[in-house]
């Protein structure tokens, strides 16, 4: 299997959504903490 073929097997869209989803969850958590201690 070549490097290019290996790359094709990765679902990049899922990876990108994972990173962006983690960011959204973190911001939500931070907003919760900010309001909790405001």
């Amino acid at each position: 299997m070549t490097k290019t073929e290996q790359e094709d097997t990765i679902n990049w869209r899922a990876w990108y959504w994972l990173v962006l989803g983690a960011l959204a969850a973190e911001i939500g958590f931070f907003a919760y903490l900010t309001n909790l201690f405001a």
């Binding site: 990049w12 962006l20 983690a22 909790l36």
Partner: protein
């Protein structure tokens, strides 16, 4: 510092530097091997290298101090970073990998012309050359405060060690040492956080500590209100922070070089995404240490200023020493009252009794007002006694705690964290400066130079930039806050650079002349705006980028100087 601390500090640093140099002893045979480690890096190696290049000693010294003084709102600065990682993985990585370039600027010659490439390389060299000096200054500050050494000597010592292993092993030595450095950094962070909670009085746990900090406005993590002049809010983070991260990771050779070293496009992308996942929680952890420091010093006597050299300077002044002693006596009395009030407040929170909490808060507010009054007097005294000295003490807060409260052995470990992080970050920058000098300036001028010659020039460029960084570090003591200084410096240059790359990637009809002119005008405008206005620095990333894109489009429309791009 005990003998044990020295052994831990010296042993950790020598092991990391020694191992890195030994592992990469054959790195100088080809230019590809020396500058990009033969393009063999795995995704986790790239991810760690990216983290280590960004996280310098400044991150460890300045960030907790910033949270101590200003709360955790600095976290918002990093909100744009994960988005930037995704965008770079989608758009920039495939282009750089397809062209197999050594530097990001090399791509600009194919896309525009030699002149534009040289301009971009020049902007990078100026910006990174200066900020690398700042990265060196931070750990030198620690050692000079710690050992009483002359700061120049300390800068030369740390800089010299870093130059030595970067010259010897090139990019691979930088990457190998950075992997250990990140390991030491995470260990140090966890240990410091644990001990800060452990040192709180009996009956005051993490939950009560958070409530005390929250009551003092330190848990101000997210602010959705929009203010153009506010440096840190959600909107500045998601726009200015995004643009800064796009510029830093997409166009700054010190980061581009890290993922160009990947063995495939897949490894480079995964390395970037790993950084996108890790960075925000990591910064949250470092800022949390600052907040815990704040709580810790509510229960323990804090000095009038953490800036020990400033305190010593005022104490040595016959005209101001009596006033200082008077304020210090008042501070000691007030510390006892503050500790009492904070303890009452913490116990009230634990009891969940609203009446008790309200009474404790009122008591605490009274001691806070007294503390603010005392601080105002102290600041006036410092200004009168040492008008040119650094007034802010945030960079000294964390290290003061380490030196005064950590057990022997751990002091050495935490200092090793600070110093190795500093060297890792500055070495990444130094390596990129050398690469850009050779690939973008030397090689185009001397196209017949062979690989060995280019490696030799790279080594000398590393020495040259290292010495220049050391020189700049010697002036850094005058700057307000280290991490802000680095970010401000970056924001002044990154906007135009990002705009140039945006034009290159997304506007294929715009030619070299329009791009070059737009970049020059935009860069001059940004510097003028910084000088003449008080716009928050993060916005300069957007302004610079927008100006380049807009002006390039306009120039291309008005003067049809060049046909469509060559790429």
């Amino acid at each position: 510092m005990s003998l044990l601390d020295w052994l831990v500090l010296g042993g950790t640093l020598l092991f990391i530097v020694g191992y890195g140099t030994w592992r990469t002893r054959q790195a100088g045979r080809t230019l590809d091997g020396y500058l990009l480690g033969g393009r063999q890096a795995s995704w986790w190696g790239i991810g760690l290298s990216i983290i280590a290049t960004q996280a310098s000693a400044i991150t460890f010294l300045s960030t907790p101090g910033q949270a101590y003084a200003d709360g955790m709102r600095f976290i918002q600065f990093y909100f744009g970073l994960p988005v930037a990682m995704v965008l770079i993985a989608i758009f920039a990585v495939p282009i750089f990998h397809r062209l197999q370039v050594f530097t990001a600027y090399e791509y600009l010659e194919g896309r525009f012309d030699r002149r534009t490439r040289t301009l971009a390389a020049g902007l990078f060299l100026v910006q990174r050359g200066l900020s690398n000096g700042l990265s060196l200054y931070a750990p030198a500050l620690v050692l000079s405060a710690l050992l009483g050494w002359d700061i120049s000597l300390t800068v030369w010592l740390i800089g010299g060690l870093m130059i030595a292993y970067t010259v010897a092993g090139g990019s691979r030595a930088v990457a190998v040492t950075q992997q250990f450095q990140v390991g030491v950094i995470f260990t140090g962070m966890v240990v410091a956080g644990y001990l800060l909670v452990h040192y709180l009085p009996a009956g005051v746990g993490f939950s009560e500590a958070m409530q005390v900090a929250g009551g003092q406005g330190k848990l101000n993590l997210v602010d959705f209100s929009f203010d153009f002049k506010d440096r840190y809010n959600f909107w500045s983070g998601m726009t200015g922070g995004l643009f800064l991260a796009l510029s830093y990771f997409g166009t700054d050779q010190s980061q581009v070089q890290r993922y160009l070293a990947g063995r495939s496009q897949r490894e480079s992308r995964l390395g970037l995404l790993m950084n996108g996942l890790v960075k925000v929680p990591m910064q949250f952890g470092i800022l949390l240490i600052g907040v815990l420091l704040f709580v810790f010093y509510q229960f323990n006597p804090a000095p009038l200023t953490f800036n020990r050299p400033l305190l010593d300077q005022v104490a040595a002044s016959p005209a101001h020493a009596p006033q200082l002693r008077k304020l210090q006596a008042e501070q000691a009395t007030l510390s006892v009252a503050q500790r009492e009030a904070t303890q009452q407040l913490a116990y009230a929170y634990a009891s969940h009794n609203p009446t008790r909490i309200a009474a404790a808060q009122t008591h605490r507010q009274a001691t806070d007002a007294a503390a603010r009054g005392l601080q105002t007097q102290a600041q006036a005294l410092f200004k009168a006694a040492a008008p040119t000295a650094e007034a802010k003490d945030t960079d000294y807060v964390f290290i003061t705690f380490v030196l005064h409260y950590l057990p022997h052995g751990l002091i050495g470990l935490l200092l090793a964290v600070v110093l190795s992080a500093a060297m890792g970050s500055a070495a990444g920058g130094l390596n990129a400066l050398a690469s850009t000098t050779v690939v973008d300036l030397y090689r185009p001028a001397y196209p017949r130079a062979d690989d060995l010659r280019c490696v030799l020039v790279s080594r000398w460029a590393t020495v040259g930039w290292g010495v220049l960084g050391i020189g700049f570090a010697l002036f850094a003591a005058r700057l307000e806050n280290l991490i802000q200084a680095v970010n401000i410096l970056g924001s002044l240059f990154y906007g135009a650079m990002l705009g140039l790359f945006m034009v290159a990637f997304f506007l294929p009809k715009i030619g070299g002349r329009a791009a070059f002119l737009a970049t020059v005008v935009a860069q001059a405008t940004v510097l003028l705006l910084f000088w003449q206005t008080d716009i928050g620095y993060l916005w300069f990333n957007i302004i610079g980028c927008g100006l380049v894109v807009g002006l390039a489009w306009l120039v291309q429309r008005i003067i049809p100087l060049q046909a469509s791009s060559k790429a």
